[in-house]
């Protein structure tokens, strides 16, 4: 489906984002950020709040426009990629529509693509098989647990077969056990479909478990402090108890501590 030439899934070059530029509430959210995400790769954005990680994700999604630099997705402008539905997106809240059944929620992006009813339904059921919720196709969202709702949201994001999946703290509202289960599920689904993943998270273990590379960011203005490679191979439940896994967690944690400390001294200097 996605061409296997060398075009990266996401290419961010010298991107800056200023909110309320020139006005009293001016916020320098991102400054000179460059990042390349290869196809099939999984990248986590982590950093203290205000470091612009969600802003960066929204720039990739073209929900925001950068004030400097360029963003390309699949070799196209981010705006074109959004028009072509080249990515799927999932948020911390599942944001399912109460008035639609589970299957019809998943059909929504297909509806907007103009698919006919039959084809939409078939695809929705296929996606429900993938997230193992087939039996709940005709239930309404409120009848599902939080973890199940989030699985529906991921199925919806993936229903258009996007080469890229963007997620903003998708498991943030879930309890620890559900969260770990969802992480394993996500990796299984994405490796099955060959999907590239960019996700924002607050959780260090989650970042290290899910990502090939963890991008550590610092606030005011948001910049990339360091990119940590996580060459842990295929993730299994055993990975979570692996020494190498803990070493990576420690490495990321120490980077984040450094970031927090400098942010604090920066604030104190004000």
């Amino acid at each position: 489906m996605s061409p296997s030439d060398g075009t990266p899934a996401v290419e961010i070059t010298g991107v800056g984002k200023m909110f309320n530029a020139g006005k009293p509430g001016q916020v320098d959210a991102l400054q000179d950020v460059s990042l390349t995400v290869a196809r099939g790769e999984s990248v986590a954005l982590i950093g203290p709040s205000g470091c612009g990680k969600s802003t960066l994700l929204r720039l990739i999604a073209n929900l925001l426009e950068p004030t400097a630099g360029t963003v390309t997705v699949n070799g196209k402008s981010a705006a074109q990629a959004r028009q072509d539905q080249d990515y799927g997106m999932a948020f911390q809240q599942a944001s399912l529509f109460d008035w639609r059944t589970v299957a019809r929620n998943i059909e929504l992006p297909l509806e907007l693509k103009g698919w006919d009813k039959r084809r939409r339904r078939d695809k929705a059921l296929e996606m429900l098989d993938l997230v193992q919720l087939r039996d709940f196709a005709d239930h309404h969202p409120w009848e599902l647990s939080g973890g199940m709702q989030q699985r529906v949201a991921i199925a919806r994001a993936l229903s258009v077969d996007p080469p890229l999946l963007l997620m903003d703290e998708p498991f943030g509202a879930l309890d620890e056990m559900t969260r770990e289960h969802m992480q394993t599920e996500l990796l299984r689904i994405c490796s099955q479909l060959g999907t590239t993943v960019v996700l924002v998270t607050h959780s260090i273990p989650e970042a290290v478990y899910l990502a090939n590379r963890v991008v550590v960011m610092s606030p005011r203005p948001g910049r990339i402090t360091k990119i940590v490679e996580v060459p842990l191979g295929e993730r299994t439940e055993a990975t979570r108890e692996d020494t190498a896994f803990f070493e990576k967690i420690t490495e990321v944690r120490e980077l984040l501590r450094g970031v927090e400390a400098s942010a604090r001294s920066h604030e104190a200097a004000w």
Partner: protein, 260 residues
């Protein structure tokens, strides 16, 4: 399901009959004069005597209320869409609408009566329309604007424009708000249709019958018409309630699920 329904329906009916029984007993035991408070059984006699007249008066008043309700709701929904679309209009008009909504609009009836001929029902319908407009407008506007920002962002990530967001997110989101407005408006439409009759115009509605019966010291008859007015208010409310259930079956399913 049927057991639960019975549990829902039976208690209020029992309470109503107990209330009527106590009322009857109170009037008989304390020997209260009919012009102060007639017995329920006396009112019931009057109801069966006045049946045809009640039905005709109720039809006249009901027609005014229905026409006012329909036109007010239509205008309210229409203006809510306009206000949702144009921010300037919304910011100028909706605080004003909230203020007008708090005012007793029926008080305008005598002025409207002066604008039209003495036999015209238009002033009443106009009053009902205005009374109904505001709760419908305010509720629908809230439903259209108070959407989950994440849902809008999601639609935008699908390359959806404003029209699609309106259709797929704002309108379905506004539906429960519309019915909240309509349930308020349904009761208000009956109240304002009847009160408007107290303030002049043709003498053919429930409100007219109540005033004329009361001024002729026909207390039983007056109370019979009051009872008809109560029933009409209830019918309108239940109508809005049933329409809500039909329009949003998932809502009642959800309420039932949450009630356990």
């Amino acid at each position: 399901m049927t057991a639960r329904r019975l549990r829902l329906i039976v208690p209020p009916i029992v309470v109503a009959f107990v209330f009527l029984g106590v009322w009857e007993l109170f009037v008989v035991v304390r020997d209260i004069k009919p012009y102060l408070l007639p017995k329920p059984s006396f009112i019931a006699e009057n109801i069966s005597e006045q049946w045809d007249g009640m039905w005709e008066a109720a039809r006249n008043t009901g027609t005014n209320a229905v026409i006012g309700l329909a036109s007010g709701a239509f205008a309210g929904v229409l203006m809510a869409f306009v206000a949702n679309r144009f921010r300037v209009f919304r910011e100028m008009f909706s605080p004003l609408a909230a203020a007008i909504n708090a005012m007793p609009i029926v008080a305008l009836t005598p002025m409207f009566n002066n604008l039209f001929s003495i036999t015209s029902t238009t002033p009443r319908r106009l009053v009902v329309t205005i009374v109904v407009f505001f709760p419908v407008f305010l509720n629908v506007l809230r439903g259209l604007t108070a959407v989950d920002p994440a849902q809008v962002e999601l639609l935008r990530s699908y390359a959806a424009g404003d029209a699609t967001v309106l259709r797929k997110v704002r309108v379905p989101n506004a539906l429960p708000f519309l019915f909240t407005g309509l349930k308020v408006a349904a009761s208000l439409s009956v109240i304002s249709a009847i009160v408007a009759e107290y303030l002049g115009g043709p003498q053919n509605g429930l409100g007219n019958r109540i005033t004329s019966a009361a001024s002729n010291s026909a207390y039983g008859r007056a109370w019979a018409y009051v009872a008809a007015a109560c029933v009409m208010g209830l019918v309108f409310y239940v109508g809005a309630f049933v329409a809500e259930r039909l329009a949003m079956p998932w809502r009642s399913k959800r309420a039932a699920a949450q009630a356990g």
